[in-house]
Symmetry: C2
Subunit: 679 residues, 2 copies
């Protein structure tokens, strides 16, 4: 591709830009699956956790299951209503982080950011662990190897995201809608059977659950309350991911806020319907489900369950019973559930870079995360996410029940701060608003957020009380660490900014430019560097050669004279073949002789294309440039000479630049398939 | 350290240089241990290998042991005599590589280099594996974990060499002389006992060896010949390392060649004495020794040896028997033997960078290896050596007997090519020499080298025949791979040189300099870059800002006007926050408008000192510089601004520069302890 093409492409790209941008924004029917997979997928594990907690008091406690389901549904309704306010008030996509920062200050914002970071790691760990359980449900040979399966899933997801996958609407739409159809269809069919009275029992219906020690029929009311609170807080895992839409408003079609709010409403309704249906069916079909670590509490006809017995997830048990006469439907339900769980994990890989770039813009993360195209910084983020998730999966042996204990704290910390921020937002807005209709509207919004805050605050307290020792302390510790790192980064940037703030004397121009051109041989790059240096008309110009071998030096001096270059050549002797130090020292000597002047060091470099060629060249130039950066009053100029093979590297860089990055879709940045889009 | 100190140190350093250089050269008594540890250490395993091979035909074959010892001693005498000629003819330290290159051409030289590279890896693997066996002999709990012990040794050696250890004469002298005293003392004591008739038997004397299948008393003469040839070629492992002195002539005191030749003679005499003494004593003391993989061929009183039985190395058995009444002496012998083996491995870590720098100078290895101070290239070499050695140790389970099969091929390939080269050398010299005395001397030298060639050629053929299938094919394959890599690197450098060769038109000066200064903010670094750029008086000068956010852009534009800088500011819009591409495109547009001009891009950079600070800054500048290298007609100037913390990095760089590198001693590069030496 020649220079002409490049400019043409720029022009073409610019012309297309604004129109194409509209095309790539998401209609509601596509936005729903893109942002909903995380929230909807939790129906695959949240009901299971409710039943596990209740089973501590034996199967009789399952009478509480639908009440807990309704309590979770109420909280979800409140949260959805609250976020609909957020979407209208903060359409820029900053989400909870922005709301907290603007209304509650930087510390609240950074707290939310820490919570979200922890949350992304846990989303991957929990979703993939749950997915591994479904995989083991469908492919029995995997039973007992869930941690290994989950780790492989994470590694594959990481590789896909490092490579750059085109996250398109279709990519999400098909599996998410398939999941909705499968689960809602299964539930509808089950409820019809329930009404007709032909509802079958699930496979675990004939099991007996021994209550856990201290949880039997002699349980105190207080202990029962605590148990119900634990079950409720585990069920609140269903709420994770609801906030995703508030981070993705810019990707919606216009009117963005209204469309986002509507989508959020749909999402809430679907999620509540699914969860309540699954809980009801499971209860009616006689489900018996305990913590997989306590299978010894299950018995059948008075005998303990045989060794090697394994529980299938709740949805798998329901599907198997409901579709007892049509096993393809059972496998379809299991498969789409597994896919949606992996998709939910993938949303964390996509959300992470978006959060990173927002944090970078505010100085809480390395600046490199803030600009598109820093592939290294971006890849590090994805690898970090994957490694943390794998550590959690291995430590907790991919047991969803134990990972859930860590999960919800982060989510509810950010829910709370966000709701509190929204209340402050409306209070502030009310101060300046005089139109009564709009004031009424604001009052209403503030009430909704206040209700939301009440609910989420109660849940957070319950979660902290019931889960702190069970693992939530790890989450809180991780949040504190992230918080301190981010504050530290910001403090560093602030210090640097202060040190760099310009004052008047900085405009002083150097009185003299002393240019030196490094010479290693008399070849094209050296001659080009000499010519370029001459073109800048410095006050003094000389070639500098580091002599490590008298013979080569004499040859060069002769050739230098022959060429009649009109530039003197300074020879620096270096008996031990050091190249960098003599040059640095010489530059500093010149600078010292002319403290108000500047030394310009010209380094001829030739540019090769293949990675192994790069290993063979320019190591000295690189080291020298690195060292000269520390010499005050010296500027370093690279004069490149492109060898034929450099074309290869140029093309590779261009390909890499055009590659899709995780998170593009959520930011409304999508190119068309020919890569001619708005980049 | 201020600039003044730096210059003073330079001057001081220069003044001291020539006098200090003399001081650091090695007297013979120090040079012997420095260069002899590799050659002498082989007495710790070479006799064992002879007995192992002979034991295939049962203990009766041990009658051949001293004859094989004498054959090995003869070869060693011939090789030592030959290398004494090399040391006189090629005092520059290039050793076999130089001799082969000069006299037989580049391909022979590269072949020798490949052989030496393989040899370094094997020196580490064999010495450390043997050392691990001695460690297991002294500390029985290590028995069976030799491969693990050896791997740990290699990792520790690697770490020490990466860190940079001061390889001083004392470092070698004490353990090497201790080893000589211990072994020669033990042998002397044993021989006195032998003469007096009180020589005890070794621990294995009462064992019986069952001959290996096909090697019994019914063995054919041909089979016996083959067996003796195998034993002989294993015994030739004693010759490895003899050539080291020829690579180290520059480190000797004057007269360098004569001192080196004398040291070589001492080395040869000591090595031969040790080897013959050990073999004689072992034979007389009734040693029984088989391949550790075939312990089932040993029996005691007609019963097989018990499970868990382990053989101690030959020297350990002799020492235990001779010092039966004084066990500290036994432990002393074992300990110094172990130390000398580790020291021998360390010489490979020291020789490797020296060979690398010679190869780099000739274009067969990456240039970066050729200059002191390229810590990265240098470290890569050490890590490479360690990793290859560990792979060999693990694959061969640290069994010296199996590793020996790979070892000697490389050594004898380089012996042969070197001797052949020396014969050519003398023939060529004879053509121009007319002084009869010197001609006689040359004829004598040529005869010595011819004898040397004959011996080493015979050994090489025997080694190839007896060991090819036992492992020597791996060595040959590795040599071929190294050979092809080195030739490929050289071909690449030649191609580049051809492409870079200067012609007349390269002197054309650009007609116009268009300078652009990148602006991200109006802070000190930007103002400094603007001032420096102005000082070069370009034909056109403008600031360039990539706008990703209209608000920030407006703020900057206002500030720019307020400051009254007298330089226009060009704003490039980048809606997707790409920073690099707009700048590269703009520079190329300017270049296109003025094809005969040059674009000078000034990048303000601020320099921080701590590694984590570096992660937080300048990623964009780095990427931009990388991309601009590929833009023809663009030169890139870094204008650094040193923040306070940059001092830390400067001090770190200085420390790293002054650090000792492996191989310094062998090149005659030693600083005194205060680090003020000739660097």
């Amino acid at each position: 591709m020649g220079v002409g093409d490049v400019s043409k492409r720029i022009l073409l790209g610019r012309k297309l830009r604004s129109s194409q941008l509209g095309e790539t924004l998401l209609p509601k029917r596509i936005a729903l699956p893109v942002f909903a997979s995380d929230a909807l997928s939790s129906v695959a594990y949240a009901p299971d956790e409710v039943f596990i907690m209740l089973s501590l008091a034996g199967a009789s406690a399952y009478v509480w299951s639908w009440k807990i389901g309704i309590a979770v549904a109420l909280v979800m309704a409140a949260v959805v209503a609250s976020y609909r306010q957020t979407v209208h008030a903060y359409p820029s996509g900053g989400g909870d982080y922005e709301v907290a920062t603007v209304n509650l200050g930087a510390n609240a914002g950074v707290t939310v950011a820490s919570a979200l970071l922890v949350d992304y790691v846990l989303t991957v760990a929990v979703s993939i662990s749950s997915g591994a359980q479904y995989a083991a449900g469908a492919v029995p040979v995997l039973v007992g190897h869930e941690a290994m399966v989950a780790t492989v899933f994470v590694v594959v997801l990481m590789a896909i995201n490092l490579r750059g996958i085109r996250e398109s609407g279709t990519f999400f739409a098909i599996p998410t809608y398939a999941f909705m159809v499968a689960i809602l269809g299964m539930c509808a069919w089950g409820i019809i059977e329930l009404v007709v009275g032909t509802l079958p029992k699930v496979e675990s219906a004939n099991l007996h659950i021994t209550p856990a020690p201290g949880h039997g029929s002699s349980m105190t009311t207080l202990a029962l309350m605590f148990l119900l609170a634990r079950a409720f807080s585990s069920g609140c895992a269903a709420l994770t991911g609801v906030e995703a839409i508030s981070n993705g408003v810019p990707a919606f079609r216009k009117p963005k806020s209204r469309n986002a709010a509507t989508t959020l409403l749909f999402l809430g309704m679907i999620a509540i319907t699914m969860m309540l249906s699954v809980i009801t069916l499971a209860k009616e079909m006689g489900l018996r489900y305990v913590d997989p670590a306590q299978l010894d509490r299950l018995s059948i006809n008075g005998h303990p369950v045989p060794a090697g017995f394994d529980q299938n997830p709740v949805i798998a048990q329901i599907a198997r019973a409901v579709f007892i006469d049509f096993s393809p439907a059972f496998y379809a339900v299991i498969t789409v559930t597994g896919i949606i769980l992996v998709l939910a994990a993938n949303t964390a890989f996509n959300g992470f870079p978006v959060l990173g770039s927002i944090l970078a813009k505010d100085g809480y993360a390395p600046r490199a995360l803030g600009s598109r195209g820093d592939r290294l910084a971006y890849s590090n983020g994805i690898v970090f996410l994957a490694v943390m998730a794998i550590i959690l999966i291995q430590v907790f042996n991919a047991e969803t029940t134990r990972l859930i204990q860590l999960y919800i704290v982060g989510v509810f910390v950010s829910f709370n701060l966000s709701q509190l921020g929204m209340i402050r937002h409306w209070t502030r807005e009310l101060k300046t608003q005089s139109d009564p209709a709009r004031r009424r509207h604001m009052h209403r919004s503030r009430t909704i957020n206040a209700v939301g805050l009440t609910f989420t605050a109660v849940v957070l307290v319950i979660v902290l009380i019931t889960k702190f020792l069970a693992g939530a302390w790890i989450t809180i510790l991780a949040m504190v660490v992230f918080f301190m790192i981010m504050k530290g980064i910001r403090r560093h940037y602030d210090n640097v900014n202060e040190e760099l703030a310009a004052d008047e004397e900085d405009k002083v121009m150097p009185t003299r430019v002393h240019a030196i051109v490094l010479v290693s041989k008399l070849h094209k790059p050296t001659l080009r560097a000499l010519a370029f240096a001459k073109a800048t008309r410095p006050n003094a110009l000389e070639g500098v050669y580091v002599s490590t071998d008298p013979e080569a030096t004499n040859r060069l001096l002769e050739e230098w004279d022959e060429r009649n270059l009109g530039v003197p050549l300074k020879v620096l002797h270096s008996p031990y073949r050091e190249l960098v130090k003599p040059i640095v020292d010489y530059a500093m000597e010149i600078k010292k002789a002319n403290p108000r002047g500047v030394v310009a060091v010209y380094i001829p470099e030739y540019v090769v294309g293949r990675w192994w060629e790069q290993l063979l060249h320019n190591q000295t130039a690189l080291r020298l440039k690195g060292r000269l950066l520390f010499a005050p009053g010296v500027m370093v100029t690279s004069v490149p000479y492109q060898l034929r093979s450099s074309q290869i590297a140029r093309e590779r860089a261009e390909r890499s630049r055009r590659r899709v990055r995780a998170g593009d879709l959520r930011r409304g940045q999508v190119t068309d398939r020919r890569g001619r889009g708005p980049r």
